[in-house]
Symmetry: C2
Subunit: 340 residues, 2 copies
């Protein structure tokens, strides 16, 4: 189960009635926060989200509306008496940016682990590589991050790029915004479905169900060995959320966001007459994200990152839902629990 | 005439219903902004203040709640197509802080003039120096800043530390907050009162009144010379505002804030049981600022910089007004025009 929230939905400038775009994704009490513009710590409070739960902060890029609230978030965590490390991941250059912005938050009571997501630029082919969700005309995705349950006294999850110890996997895609900018896909893997009818037909006692569901083989009292695949109904696809701000549209986004349960994607304006301006600024219109949602087979689309000049984004609802009916013109505080 | 506004009144952390403390002081369309914590650009919008009018940004100190909104303010000014320089003044270290925070606002269309207010630490005496508003047990005040009207195409005021070309003078006092921190006094000098009865008794034609009021001597048609002092009723004291956050109280603040029209001063809590905590943190209670207002002969006191834990600062009204009746427990957006 993933809880997803958009505490803010604005782009460029925070407004009195619209916080800057950021995204909260929580699993079992451990949260990922994507981006933190000016005021994000207030937006979290308004949405009823607990900053202390943040284990991983993902930054898309270093424009002020996506990162200027970093000192505020860090100091809020400091005030909550946090001592466990916080991981911040983002594009190359992140260490320099964090180092500069924390000049006004110099003595944090917890360590920062900064991960710059490096992308190989050696592959020249325009064809997708086997096993890679993205075509190789863009840089290759780096090794995924995993939100890691560290357990014990230091409870909670921690981001780790080293090994898979968590069901929450994060991959990144370089976007096209004129500066280093990353899109993110967050996936929660799920256990296969346990089939009690199969277990009963094999005379497996109930006490063994949990072990089999976790992928362990068991030996029954009569010496018979039961394998997990004898009682499980195959692999379920992960729950997935994809997040794209800021970028102009390009084909590889479709593969990267393939079949996501929720696509969160920018829409600066709904008015097609803004096309020229939006192309020039490397952004997307509502229709761009709707076409993308349709092509990648997303179950739902949340639009966000509205221009401050767009006072009534909901006026674009009808037109965008013609392209992709499951589109939501998100409001600040938009929430969804994805269980299935 | 000075227009004064407190767009925010919070300390430490911005809250959904309380912006961080900052102060707006405007004279003839040119504004001074004191401090800019996270969200100040939104607080200005909510208070109906126009960031484009900011000519001088004064920083008290480099704690995040007083300066983390700097990139946002600068980018807001950039979006308003500003090209004229912006002066930022504050404690020593300001250049380093501005340089670090503008890593996410790297290409501003206007130049920044950074003034670090240096204080001499050579004077040892505990007695006030002649001409200095502060006792010399604290560092001497540096040369005042003047908000300078540059005129012409580049209209508006500009801060200048070089010469007195404006009626708006800014002086600073080092406070006691455990880090470099400055209090500010803003004074608007006023022309002496013109006495038309005196002018009439000297047979001065009305066409000369304006020149005489501006301090110029005039020669009448009959060759007689009239001096300004023959028709003026002496010097009027300036309009003055004094601003103190963050600090513990100390005696030199009284001289520095002598006879101000408006004292704006911090009050983290009203509850005297917070005394120990507040002393330790180098802050003030409501009663500290009220005693200060009383001792310095202020006409009015505005309290601000409430602790996030203080949900209902107005509950402290009665007690603090016993000490200094002209105390206002400021709300976000508190406004006053000081004309006399």
């Amino acid at each position: 189960m993933l809880d997803v929230c958009l505490p803010g939905t604005g782009g460029m400038l925070p407004l009195p009635n619209r916080w800057l775009t950021c995204c909260w994704i929580e699993h079992q009490g451990a949260a990922i926060l994507i981006d933190c513009g000016e005021g994000t710590q207030i937006a979290l409070k308004k949405a009823g989200l607990k900053p202390a739960r943040i284990e991983l902060l993902l930054i898309t890029h270093f424009h002020a509306d996506h990162v200027s609230g970093l000192p505020g978030i860090l100091l809020t965590l400091a005030n909550s008496a946090r001592t466990q490390p916080l991981t911040i991941a983002g594009p190359v250059g992140l260490k320099r940016i964090v180092s500069a912005l924390t000049v006004i938050a110099p003595r944090l009571p917890f360590p920062l682990e900064i991960i710059e997501l490096q992308f190989s630029r050696t592959v020249k082919s325009d064809q997708p590589t086997a096993g890679s969700p993205i075509a190789t005309s863009v840089p290759c995705t780096p090794k995924p991050l995993y939100l890691q349950n560290v357990g014990g006294h230091d409870a909670g999850y921690r981001a780790s790029s080293r090994e898979k110890t968590s069901p929450v996997k994060i991959t990144a895609l370089p976007l096209r915004h004129g500066v280093n900018c990353l899109g993110y896909r967050i996936e929660l893997s799920r256990k296969p479905v346990f089939n009690p009818d199969k277990a009963k037909s094999l005379d497996v006692p109930v006490k063994f169900y949990k072990h089999l569901h976790s992928g362990e083989s068991v030996t029954l009292d009569n010496g018979r060995i039961i394998l997990p695949e004898q009682v499980l109904d195959g692999i379920r696809r992960p729950i997935s959320v994809c997040y794209f701000t800021d970028t102009k549209p390009f084909p590889q986004m479709i593969d990267f966001a393939k079949d996501v349960d929720l696509l969160i994607s920018e829409g600066m304006y709904y008015d097609e007459r803004m096309r020229e301006k939006i192309d020039e600024k490397n952004h997307m219109l509502f229709s761009d994200s709707a076409k993308l949602a349709s092509k990648c087979g997303a179950k739902r689309l949340w639009l966000t990152h509205y221009s401050p000049a767009l006072e009534r984004p909901h006026d674009g609802t009808k037109a965008v839902q013609k392209i992709f009916p499951q589109t939501t013109i998100s409001n600040d505080g938009e929430m969804l629990t994805i269980a299935e």
